[in-house]
């Protein structure tokens, strides 16, 4: 094992480049997933006839599939029907499709956790259903969802590593390139990238825990 050679400045810079890609893909994906997941979760909560059932079917199907399959499908199968996305966009779309169905469930759970009396009270004081949802229910539900949403972001950060399968130049992909140069680098590089993932996600998990304690 050659720690000094593996941790040369060039290699560290190359890994940081990969990590920057990981963060970029994760942040873009989580923002889009929040928006789409929020809409899907709200539709599921409101029980609009027909539309809600369709949303349930889509969300449940995607939640029960491996993310790796969705990534490969987006990158390899869609070109067959004329949709060529490239690896960055494919990775982001696959992550958004998967994570937004996870977030939809978190949002629905959050909305469900607000007592029914709240919406009844709001309605009887003259607000429409949508007004009650937006001004009374959502703000309370959002607060309860935050810890779960942070945990979901941790999952997403870890999940970006699956995009190594479509050669997205993220942290794990760059790590593999360095490891291929010299077998002496393999273990030192594994240790380093594990620590990078750990450091970021552990800090996020501490934030999630603190937010949870604040509420109880």
């Amino acid at each position: 094992m050659d720690f000094i050679g593996a941790y040369s400045l060039d290699n560290l810079a190359f890994l940081m480049q990969g990590f920057y890609m990981t963060l970029k893909v994760a942040v873009v994906s989580i923002i889009l997933s929040f928006i789409i997941g929020g809409i899907l979760g709200t539709i599921r909560f409101t029980r609009v006839p027909a539309i809600s059932q369709i949303v349930v079917a889509i969300v449940e199907t995607i939640r029960n599939l491996p993310l790796l399959l969705i990534i490969l499908f987006t990158y390899l199968a869609l070109p067959e029907i004329g949709i060529n996305l490239g690896n960055t966009v494919s990775a982001i779309i696959a992550l958004v499709v998967f994570e937004s169905s996870m977030i939809a469930e978190i949002v629905r759970g959050g909305l469900d956790s607000v007592e029914k009396g709240q919406i009844e009270a709001a309605r009887s004081s003259g607000l429409t259903y949508l007004q009650a949802l937006r001004t009374i229910i959502l703000p309370q539900a959002l607060k309860r969802m935050v810890p779960n949403l942070v945990s979901q972001f941790i999952s997403l950060l870890k999940d970006t590593s699956l995009a190594v399968v479509i050669s997205l130049p993220e942290l794990l992909h760059h790590a593999k390139i360095i490891q291929a140069q010299n077998t002496q680098y393999v273990i030192p590089i594994f240790i380093l990238i594990a620590l990078i993932y750990f450091a970021v996600n552990y800090v996020l998990s501490l934030i999630a825990k603190r937010l949870e304690l604040k509420q109880t």
Binding site: T61, R63, L69, L172, Q184, V186, F198
Partner: protein, 217 residues
Amino acid sequence: MLDFSILIDYSDMLWDGFKVTIVASLIALVASFIIGTVVAVMRITPIAPLRWVGTAYVEFFRNIPLVVIAFFFFIGTPAIGIRFSGITAGTIALSIYTSAFIAEAVRSGILSIPKGQMEAARSSGLNYMQTMRMIILPQAIKIVIPPIGNQFINLVKNSSILALISGADLMYQADLISAKTFIVFDVYILVALLYLIITIPLSVGLRYIESRLANTY
């Protein structure tokens, strides 16, 4: 649009992959349950060093990607002379990764048992390990079933990472078949359906068990 007829020739490969996916998930479930329970007990013992090790284990493996663990056992350990097949490396990685989540589930299950149980058992002459094994754990198991069921569904989905280390699972066979036949779209749709055949009944069954357990309290 979808045409699965050509894929009938490859049904043996798909079936082999299907079996590997199920067997790897089941082995990893049993292994991660055992490791997870041990780690959970370590995390709540009165012995501080054991607690630290348990906490470090859970926090470390929960916060790094599963693929990194899988690659470590497939391309990392050969660098120090330890070789595993793709299936073995993948199953080890799945077990370690999942055990961190199961440890958390088991720990909160144990903590939800009223303290009086432990005190009553201890004062009737059982030692700490006996109390754990005969009084606390059997009660905790019931509370822990739903989260562990969830982890099993995750395991089935996560076992697809075997494909990245030539683990001959369902996802891997799908890759092979699409490379041979140049049919990608239909193969992936079929494989998605095969995954759903495993995961949807598990989800539905789990929800049923959850509602049954909720009614008992």
